[in-house]
C-alpha cells in the first residue's frame, strides 16, 4: 500500500525559518498502528527521500492522539535565503506520497 492511500493528510511546512516539518495523519488508528509497527517511516527514510545526512533529520515522532507521524528536517537553506524555492515549505511533501508500506 502506498502512503497516500493510508493517510488523510500528508503535508510539509516550516517549523520556524530553519526547519521543515512533515505531518502524516492516518485514516484510522488501526492503519496508524500498522504503519508504525512496520517501522518503514524512520529517520533513514527521510534522509534517503530528501538526500540528507542522517543528522539533519532532527526527529521522527509518533503522535497517537492524532494517529499521526511527524518528522522534522533541517531546511537545506533557511527560509527565504538565496536559492529559495518554497518560502513557506508547503510543497515539499511529495516524495512521501508514493512510499510503499508493507501491510
Amino acid at each position: 500500500m502506498k502512503l497516500r492511500d493510508a493517510a488523510d493528510v500528508i503535508r510539509s511546512k516550516n517549523s520556524g525559518p530553519y526547519e521543515l516539518t512533515f505531518d502524516i495523519i492516518f485514516k484510522d488508528s488501526a492503519l496508524f498502528r500498522k504503519v508504525v509497527d512496520s517501522g518503514v517511516i524512520n529517520r533513514e527514510l527521510f534522509a534517503k527521500l530528501y538526500n540528507l545526512p542522517l543528522e539533519n533529520v532532527t526527529a521522527v515522532i509518533c503522535f497517537s492522539p492524532a494517529n499521526a507521524i511527524k518528522a522534522t528536517i533541517v531546511r537545506p537553506i533557511p527560509s527565504g535565503a538565496l536559492g529559495e524555492r518554497d518560502v513557506y515549505g508547503a510543497q515539499q511533501h511529495v516524495p512521501l506520497l508514493d512510499v510503499e508500506i508493507p501491510l
Binding site: D23, F63, P65, A66, A68, K70, S79, G80, V94
Partner: protein, 456 residues
Amino acid sequence: MKELRVLAPTAILGYGFPIQSFEEGLRRDPHLIAVDAGSSDPGPFYLGAGVSFTDRSAVKRDLELLLTAARERKIPLIIGSAGGSGGEPHLEWNVDIIEEIAKEKKLSFKMAVIHGEISPELVQDKLADGKVKPLPPLEELTCEELEKTERIVGQMGIEPFIRALEMGAEVIVAGRAYDPAVFAAPAVLQGFDRGLALHMGKILECACIASTPGSGSDCMMGFLREDCFLVEPLNSARRCTPMSVAAHTLYEKSNPYLLPSPGGALDLSETQYLAASSRAVKVTGSKFIPDPNYTIKLEGVKKIGYRTISIAGVRDPVMIQQIDEIIDSVREKVAENFAVQNLTYFLDFKVYGKNGVMAGLEPVVETNSHELGIIIEAVAPCQAKADTICSFARSTMLHWGFEGRLSTAGNLAFPYSPSDFQAGPVYVFNVYHLLEVSDPCELFPMELCQVGEVGA
C-alpha cells in the same frame, strides 16, 4: 463555574472572517477578543523592510469590527505581533490604523502599546554576558553578524500583557509576541492554569484551522475552565473533532508533546482530547513546566543586496531537451562578460516544469513537460547592478545558439513588457537565538495612552 470565554476572530489580523460567525461569538458573551497578527512564515523580507505582509485595508476592515464590538461590551481587545513581524515600523503602522478607526467611529479607550523590537546593541551586551544561545541548527551569534543586522524582534511572553492589563489597558497592541500569549495572558492573570491557558491559546491563535473543514479566516471560541478547556468553531458549517484539535498540535511545530514557550515548556504528553458535543472538543491534562531560566526567542534579518527578476516561458522541444547545458552556458557568458568589472552577484534560473519547486530535493530526474517556465533572478549589492546582471542573462538566453536550433529568432516567450522586474532589497534571517532575561518584561517597554476623549 469559573469560565473565561475567548473569541478568536481570525488566524491573522487582516485575513478576514464572516460577520455571522463573529456575531455568533458575541452571543456567547466573550470576556476577551484576541488576535495574533504575525508569523515568520512569509519570510525575512517583511521584518527587514518594515512592512506588513497583510494589506492595510483588510486589517482595517477586521479591526473596525473587533474594536467596535470590544468597546460596546467593555471587554479587552488584545493584538499580538502587530503588522505581521512585530518590529517598530509594524507596530506604528498598526497603531495608526487603530487611531484612525477610533477617530472615525468616535471610540474612546485606554490603549497599551508594547514594543517588541530589540536593539542590536542590547543583544550585543547580552551576548558578552553569555546570555544569548543559538537555536539549532544555528551557530553562536557573533558581534560581526549583529552589526550587519537590519532588525531584531523578540517574542514576548504573557507577562508584558499581564502588566498592561493590570495598569487598566482596554486595548493592547504589541510587537512580536509568542502567538498564544494574547489569549493566555488575561486567563493567567485571573488565576487559570497556565498550561491549559497556553494550550487553548495555541489552538485559538490559528482560529478555525483546528476545525474541519479548516479555515484561517473564520471565528473560533474558547471556553477556559479550571480543569479543562473547550473549543468550538462559530460557523455551523465547521466542527471540531478530537482528531482535528489533536492534529492541530502538530502544525508548524517540531515536537507535538513538548512545545517550548517563553519561560518554560508546554507539556502535552498527558493531554486528552474528548468530544464535548458534535462540534466542540474538550481538552484536559496540558501542563506548563516552568524553566528556571526565562528565555526570549529572537528573530533577526540582514540585508544582502537587491533583486531583479525576469519571467519567461520556453516551448521549443529542442531547447527543453538541452535546458541544463544552455543555462550553464548563459551563466558562463555572464561571468565572462563582467569579469573585468569584478562584479559580485548571485544568478539563479528557476525552471518550472523541471525542478522549480523542489530544486535539490526533487526526486524526478527526467522531465516530460512540453513547456517550461523560467525565472531568471539576479541579486547584487545594488539595484542597478542586479538590473545589469538580470538583463544581460535574459538577452543572452534569448539569443543563445544551441545544438540543433531551428528557432533562430529567439528562445524565450515573455508574458510581459517590461520583461524584467525590480524586486527591491533582499533580506535573510541571521538571528534565531534565545536570549535569557531576568525579568520577562525587561525587553518590552510599554506606553499607556488615552485614545479619543475620556468619557466619549
